[in-house]
């Protein structure tokens, strides 16, 4: 089944063609990086306007790239849940129009569900059940993937998303946007043990995360250094900050895997592209005899291939939507469960 996926939940306008939730024929992503860099983050109204301008072009590009025509499309999948309301709405309006005009099924997907499938797309041997850590600039969630389209949210962030902490620290030090790749690069030249930044909720019994206090600790360190006229070892700060985030993410995910009795972990979302995070996960999982899986890099950040894959499986399970599909910007993941 050839599924057209559409994703406009945040700042990326994306469209993709995927066969049977497995083979990617095209994966078109238009980022708004120029705007993000100008404003230091996502501006919902500007993002929504950009989606409206781009949506037709990216859908056409996805088909042209795959040498397919509209007649070949067998279903439309779209991110309808979780994201910026004005942005989600553009994708859903396009998806339902396509579904109506082409007379093919329509299915709404939860954005996080998409990220879970990004890993399954890249790793056909990723077993189900598994524990999935999905972590980006917009969310940080630990999910028990019980079966296809059956999820249990174990924990999520109480304040900033992990990627958001990277962005905010990068912004504070004027390093540019997005913060993830910049800090990743700086950290590789710094000493991870130079500063012992706090690791909030590391040993708490919960699977929830908190990164806001860590961010404050770094800003305070900076202020102290400046007040004492000491040189500012930005590489060391970046490395120590990144290490703290990685420690928290890895420790919680490993504990969730062991307490859920699963033998596999999947790490997805924009932050899963972080080199140190991958390194530590690989190291710790090998010791714990747990398999760890990451999506290929182009599927880490927001994309529509993962939406098409998730949509295919929802359709397979009889979870199609009708033309009254609406957006739910704050929809919980559990609502996605198969009946």
């Amino acid at each position: 089944m050839l599924v057209l996926g559409i994703e406009t939940s945040c700042d990326e306008s994306a469209a993709a063609l995927v066969i049977d939730g497995r083979t990617i024929l095209s994966n078109i992503i238009a980022t708004q990086l120029d705007i993000l860099q100008k404003y230091g983050g996502v501006v919902p109204e500007i993002a929504a306007r950009r989606h409206t301008e781009l949506i037709g072009y990216i859908i056409k590009e996805a088909m042209d790239f795959a040498h397919k025509t509209l007649k070949d499309i067998e279903a439309i999948a779209v991110t309808a849940r979780q994201g910026l309301i004005g942005c989600l709405l553009v994708g859903v309006a396009a998806a339902k129009s396509l579904s109506y005009a082409l007379k093919v099924p329509l299915v709404g997907v939860h954005h996080i569900e998409g990220h879970i499938f990004a890993s399954l797309l890249s790793n056909p041997d990723l077993p189900i059940p598994h524990v999935c850590l999905t972590v980006s600039g917009g969310h940080t969630m630990l999910v028990f993937v019980r079966d296809y389209c059956q999820y249990e949210l174990l924990g999520s962030t109480l304040d900033d998303a992990a990627g958001e902490a990277f962005d905010k620290i990068a912004k504070f030090f004027n390093l540019g946007f997005p913060g993830g790749p910049v800090i990743d690069g700086l950290a590789s030249k710094g000493n991870r043990k130079a500063f012992n930044f706090p690791r909030p909720l590391l040993r708490a019994g919960t699977y929830d995360f908190s990164f806001s206090g860590l961010k404050t600790a770094i800003i305070n360190t900076f202020k102290e250094k400046v007040a004492q006229n000491e040189p500012l070892p930005i590489e060391d700060i970046a490395a120590s900050f990144q290490e703290a985030v990685v420690d928290i993410l890895v420790a919680k995910t490993l504990r969730a895997a062991s307490e859920s009795n699963v033998s596999a972990i999947s790490v997805t979302g924009g932050v899963s592209a972080n080199r140190r995070l991958r390194e530590v996960f690989n190291e710790k999982c090998q010791k714990a005899k747990i398999d760890v899986f990451f999506p290929e890099l182009r599927l880490c950040t927001d994309n529509a291939a993962m939406v098409a894959a998730a949509g295919y499986h929802r359709l397979r399970l009889g979870l199609a939507d009708n033309l009254n599909l609406n957006v739910l910007p704050n929809a919980p993941l559990e609502v996605q469960c198969a009946r």
Binding site: K38, Y39, V43, E45, I46, A48, R49, T52, E53, I55, G56, Y57, I59, K60, L70, I85, G86, L89, V90, V92, A93, A94, K96, S97, L98, Y100, A101, L102, L323, N324, L325, N326, V327
Partner: protein, 234 residues
């Protein structure tokens, strides 16, 4: 030529179907929060009313706004994707022009007014009827009702939804000899279709490039522009 017209700029789904000059179906659905949810179902309903299927439609007309930013994004996206996926032409029409075209009275100056969401900001423009068509005679106006009133120099028909609210502010600013008439009206789908009809025969717009007529920058962009100007002046 059968044309489907829609406008979603004003918390309503206005949908109409015409065949040449003949209106086959025309209805405005209240849609304060469910514009997106119902839009395609409403279109399907109206096509059935007209005894047509989507394949029978030869072209589309869509209201570009100004109005609710979210609303016009839904209408413009649905319009451009329907045109793209059926391979039929589309034409965008300013919602102010739709309102002006609905005034049937001869001569005079028409001034459609649309609320910009806040109490004292409105979108407006002046139109005059020439050979059965309305033509815009001035730039689009964004600002308070008093500022609009200062542009009124001759008898004018104001047209729009809830425009009574601006009447006091407008009257205060203009010469009492100038006759002002109010017509309470909202954009209709059939009007969009009729306006689009002629332009579609001449090719219409590029569906993929079709963009809403916001007339206002987002707050963030406006803030950045001011900030940049202030810095350059520094």
């Amino acid at each position: 030529m059968k044309v489907l017209g829609l406008d979603t700029s004003g918390y309503a789904n206005a949908i109409g179907v015409v065949d040449g000059d003949c209106v086959l179906a025309d209805f405005t659905f209240e849609a304060r929060t469910d514009t997106l949810e119902k839009i395609v179902t409403h279109i399907d309903f109206m096509l059935k009313k007209a005894n047509l299927q989507l394949e029978d439609i030869d072209g589309f007309g869509v209201g570009l706004g100004p109005g609710s930013w979210t609303g016009i994004r839904v209408g413009v996206t649905v319009g451009k994707i329907l045109a793209f996926s059926t391979g039929k032409p589309i034409c965008g029409v300013a919602t102010l022009e739709i309102l002006a075209s609905q005034v049937t009275k001869p001569s005079k100056l028409f001034c459609p007014i649309i609320s910009a969401g806040t109490r004292d900001t409105i979108y407006a423009a002046f139109y005059r009827r020439q050979n059965d068509l309305v033509e815009r005679v001035d730039d689009y106006y964004v600002g308070d009702p008093a500022g609009l009133a200062r542009r009124i120099k001759e008898p004018t028909i104001l047209v729009g939804t809830g425009i009574n609210a601006y009447l006091k502010a407008i009257r205060q600013e203009i010469n009492s000899n100038i006759n002002i008439e109010l017509i309470e009206d909202s954009p209709r789908g059939a009007s969009v279709a009729l306006l689009a009809l002629d332009r579609l025969q001449r090719g219409g717009d590029n569906a993929l490039a079709l963009a809403p007529l916001y007339l206002k920058e987002s707050t963030a962009r406006a803030f950045i522009s001011q900030y940049t100007v202030a810095q350059t002046r520094g």
